[in-house]
């Protein structure tokens, strides 16, 4: 049952050519641009690679999840509640698609860094960077679903854009947190994007990502609970 719905959602996503190209092209383009302007040294390039891989992945995941607001606004979720598919099944399928879409940007930025900037890592290093960032995207897929369950099709763009922008900048994905003034640097460390970026540049940290993984796991738990509660609340509400 879930597989039926999941394959339906994957086919729909596979047809969203423009969305997918943008999701992949934006972080790669930004990487190439930034590494051209401020890059050149291995440390800076690695930082940019980690930050923009994280950016591409978390933005794609949030975007996919948040788009559920449109279907919810149209009454598609209501329609599905009249089928054997459970609410959990629907959310799982959407979350899985968000994760699928999040993988190419990570791999794409890593590839761009390797090809355009000549970044070299050990096979384990690449694996940690790409898989680590990808897996670390899970709480953002959930965050997207939370936004999708709160937003209306009308105010969706504002929510989604605002959240992505704030999380990217304040999480230090574009500018290193070390350049931030005191308070802002503290704020940054509370954000999941900071820790996702950390995983992206694990190479510069001797590969220790346990702290970051722990923080992101907590975010996953909290946001997962929020999605389920909100979906149930939304299901019980009058139209």
């Amino acid at each position: 049952m879930l597989s039926t719905y999941l394959s339906f959602e994957i086919r729909r996503m596979a047809r969203s050519g423009r969305f997918l190209i943008f999701a992949l092209g934006l972080p790669i383009g930004l990487y190439l641009l930034e590494s051209n302007v401020v890059g050149g040294t291995r440390d800076v390039d690695l930082y940019l690679m980690g930050g923009l891989a994280a950016f591409g992945a978390f933005k794609a995941a949030i975007d996919v999840g948040a788009r559920t607001a449109v279907e919810r606004g149209m009454g598609w979720q209501r329609q599905l509640r009249l089928t054997p598919l459970s609410g959990g099944g629907y959310l799982t399928a959407k979350g899985a698609v968000a994760m699928l879409v999040a993988l190419p940007p990570v791999a794409g930025v890593a590839l761009a860094a390797a090809l355009a900037s000549g970044i070299t890592l050990s096979p384990g290093g690449w694996l940690l960077t790409v898989l680590g960032v990808w897996l670390g995207t899970l709480p953002f897929a959930l965050l997207g679903l939370v936004i999708g369950q709160f937003a209306t099709p009308q105010n969706l763009a504002a929510y989604q854009g605002g959240v992505v922008l704030l999380l990217s900048f304040l999480g230090g994905l574009f500018i290193p947190v070390t350049e931030f003034p005191g308070v802002l640097a503290t704020v940054a460390k509370a954000l999941p994007t900071y820790w996702l970026g950390l995983i992206g540049r694990a190479e510069t940290l001797n590969g220790d990502v346990t702290g970051a993984a722990a923080v992101l796991a907590v975010y996953t738990l909290v946001l997962g609970t929020a999605v389920v509660l909100r979906y149930q609340q939304d299901a019980a509400r009058a139209r």
């Binding site: 509640r81 299901a235 009058a238």
Partner: protein, 304 residues
């Protein structure tokens, strides 16, 4: 033999003591409704009477403050999971980026014993729209596709909320024809509608709601009779309104020029009385009160 005699048929719909309040508003205020398998029931009432909330509560889309609902003997969600209930919601979504066939395929795929998608398309009269995306459908086409979505699970019970809204006269007729085909196989249908002539033509039974309560429930003829449903019209030279109102059996009367309209429950008797007083009365016409008039009376009554 004994077992057959004592075996009770499970009602298709069993609603008991249903209540739902939104703050001060008693949207549904104690509704009881039992629908036997095979019945075609129309749910009628003015806007805000509680029809949609009742339907939502029945389907488990909202949870009642009080009362119980069983569909085919099961709680709503379980009945849905079993695939026994097909639903056509008024504003149910048709995804813009997905074709009609794909939508039906996914819904069929979620059910255990669906009918072939082609059959659902045919029953709804939308065979030619299979490859069309949701964004390109007209209002009437969307309604028919929604009907296909409701029947594709091959349900025993169909619940339709305003099924013919946005349809033109012809598609409305086609729609009811395909509905008839579907219900002739012994399935149960509950539909909410604003079109009283549809209820009159297609329902075995009508349920009138007003202010969250059921105010009349029965076969169309019975509901009409309950509101004293006959009208006698005649041209009565020299008649006066007071005289007409004084005739035994007349509940209300109107007089325009010589043309009199008398409301009553026993028109034969009123006709005799009328002719006794006014032998010159002519152009006599007796007809039943239409459902629309009954509707107005039932829903206007005791509004205090």
């Amino acid at each position: 033999m004994l077992s057959r005699m004592t075996h009770e048929v499970e009602p298709a719909v069993a609603v008991r003591g249903l209540r739902k309040h939104y703050g001060e508003v008693r949207a549904v205020d104690g509704v009881d409704l039992v629908i036997a398998p095979g019945e075609v029931v129309a749910l009628l009432g003015p806007n805000g009477a509680g029809k949609s909330t009742t339907v939502d509560l029945m389907l488990g889309l909202a949870s009642p403050d009080e009362g119980e609902v069983a569909l085919l003997g099961l709680p709503p969600r379980e009945a849905m999971v079993k695939g026994g209930v097909g639903v056509m919601l008024q504003e149910a979504a048709l995804l813009d980026d997905v074709t009609v066939r794909e939508t039906l395929e996914v819904i069929a795929g979620l059910h255990r014993t669906p009918m072939p998608v082609d059959e659902a398309l045919r029953r709804a009269g939308v065979e030619e729209l299979g490859d069309r995306r949701g964004a390109l459908l007209s209002g009437g086409q969307k309604q028919r596709v929604r009907f296909a979505m409701a029947v594709v699970s091959d349900p025993d019970l169909l619940v339709l909320d305003e099924p013919t809204a946005a349809m033109d006269v012809e598609s409305r007729r086609d729609f009811w024809r395909s509905m008839r085909d579907f219900t002739d196989t012994g399935r149960t249908v509950l539909f909410a509608t604003h079109y009283l002539e549809e209820a009159e033509a297609y329902a075995d039974r009508v349920v009138f709601m007003r202010a969250g309560k059921v105010v009349a429930d029965g076969p169309v003829a019975m509901v009409l009779a309950s509101v004293g449903g006959r009208v006698l019209r005649a041209t009565v030279p020299g008649a006066r309104l007071e005289g007409l109102l004084g005739l035994p059996g007349v509940t209300t009367a109107e007089l325009r020029g010589e043309r009199a309209e008398l409301h009553c429950s026993d028109p034969d008797r009123v006709l005799r009385e009328l002719l006794a007083v006014h032998p010159a009365a002519r152009d006599v016409e007796i007809r039943a009160l239409g459902l629309e008039e009954a509707f107005v009376r039932l829903t206007a009554k005791e509004s205090a």
